[in-house]
């Protein structure tokens, strides 16, 4: 249920972005969900609905899944994260701390743990849309 902690971060950050941009009412919040972290979309959505502030009461939360992708720094191999290929222990660890990928996953070509997570690491706030005073 650590999705709640992530949701809290998203809501607080959206509030701050809205303030910075002078939005009085938030209409849409787009969230990138890196699949490496294997966030439970339903729990996250539920938590967002529970935690949302009055300014975002009519907002649409859009969750955009982004496939986890790796590039080996040693041999250049690129490959995609397939959740089914890691065991439960690894999956749990990566869920809480995505960098634990370097502990449990190796380059499929050369076996190195030294790879970049080029896409789909974790949760990001992509955009916050809303209405300003003069609109």
């Amino acid at each position: 249920m650590h999705e709640w902690a992530l949701a809290e971060g998203i809501v607080s950050t959206a509030v701050r972005v809205a303030e910075d941009e002078g939005l009085l009412k938030i209409t849409e919040i787009v969230i990138d969900i890196g699949e490496l972290q294997q966030v439970e979309h339903e729990i996250l959505m539920f938590a967002l609905e529970q935690l949302k502030t009055p300014t975002m009461k009519d907002a649409r939360f859009v969750l955009k899944p982004i496939q986890g992708r790796f590039r080996c720094r040693v041999c250049g191999e690129e490959w995609a994260f397939i959740p089914e290929t890691v065991d439960k222990e690894a999956s749990e660890a990566i869920h809480f701390v995505p960098e634990m990928a370097h502990v449990y996953i190796k380059c499929s070509q050369c076996g190195s743990p030294d790879f970049d997570v080029t896409e789909g690491r974790g949760v990001w706030l992509e955009s916050v849309k809303g209405l300003k005073r003069d609109e």
Partner: protein, 239 residues
């Protein structure tokens, strides 16, 4: 694009009264031993204490304190388990006993992630065991935990102290409070007091090299009976 984790970090620590980073420019000077025994001693004095091992590539405090087979609870985030009287957090809960080969930016990302999801309850002290140097972990705690205070550890060697002096300069320039410097693993004579004072920091005291400390590692009852622990105890009331 915004990182949704940064915003909640301060809130995760809001119930913690004092946050102390045990730090040094140099590796192997006794930061982890000092952070561990300091946590134990503050706890023995009746304070509620957390210990956070922020050395993600070479965590050590679990070895020093003999911590095993505990895991955090999951409850709207992560709740550090209560172990040996301390609220304890370490990357070992996730990396287990495997190597964690992380580059700088990955260390930083992992630190931010853990800070953002770990819910510290009410604590008088949170002691943070830092990795050596002024790399990612140091820069991240400076950036993300503005009220952190630093407790510096050095050996009597000028090689060690030179790195500590640089860190003191950095911290002073950024207006971060330094509690003082502990001179650890003293073998022959004390060397640092006048230097530390010249550099405008408080000299908190010294700890001799304790040849039997090794035997006590992993067992807190034995640790508490060592000469090293006794000397640390004398330093604690300056903190």
């Amino acid at each position: 694009m915004s990182d949704p984790r940064i915003e909640v970090i301060e809130r995760r620590l809001e119930k913690v009264e004092n946050i102390i980073a045990v730090s040094s420019g140099k590796g192997g000077v006794g930061k982890s031993v000092v952070a561990s025994t300091l946590s134990l001693e503050l706890s023995s004095r009746g304070y509620s204490v957390g210990l956070f091992d922020l050395d993600f590539t070479s965590p050590s405090t679990h070895v020093i304190l003999g911590i095993q087979d505990v895991f955090p609870d999951e409850e709207y985030g992560i709740i550090p388990p209560l172990v040996k009287g301390l609220r304890y957090m370490s990357i070992i809960f996730y990396a287990l006993d495997r190597p964690a080969p992380l580059r700088g930016s990955e260390i930083s990302d992992a630190i931010i992630e853990v800070l953002a999801i770990t819910r510290w309850e009410e604590l008088d002290y949170l002691i943070i065991d830092m990795p050596p140097g002024m790399g990612d972990a140091t820069l991240d705690v400076i950036r993300l935990i503005p009220r952190i205070k630093f407790l510096m550890v050095s050996t009597p060697s000028k090689v060690a102290y030179e790195t500590v002096r640089k860190q003191l300069t950095l911290l002073r320039g950024l207006d971060f409070p330094v509690i003082g410097v502990i001179e650890n693993m003293v073998m022959h004579s004390l060397r640092l007091r006048s230097q530390v004072e010249e550099d405008g920091a408080e000299y908190l005291g010294s700890i001799n090299y304790d040849p039997v400390l090794e035997e006590a590692l992993g067992d807190i009852e034995r640790l508490k009976k060592t000469a090293m622990y006794a000397e640390l105890t004398k330093i604690v009331h300056h903190i």
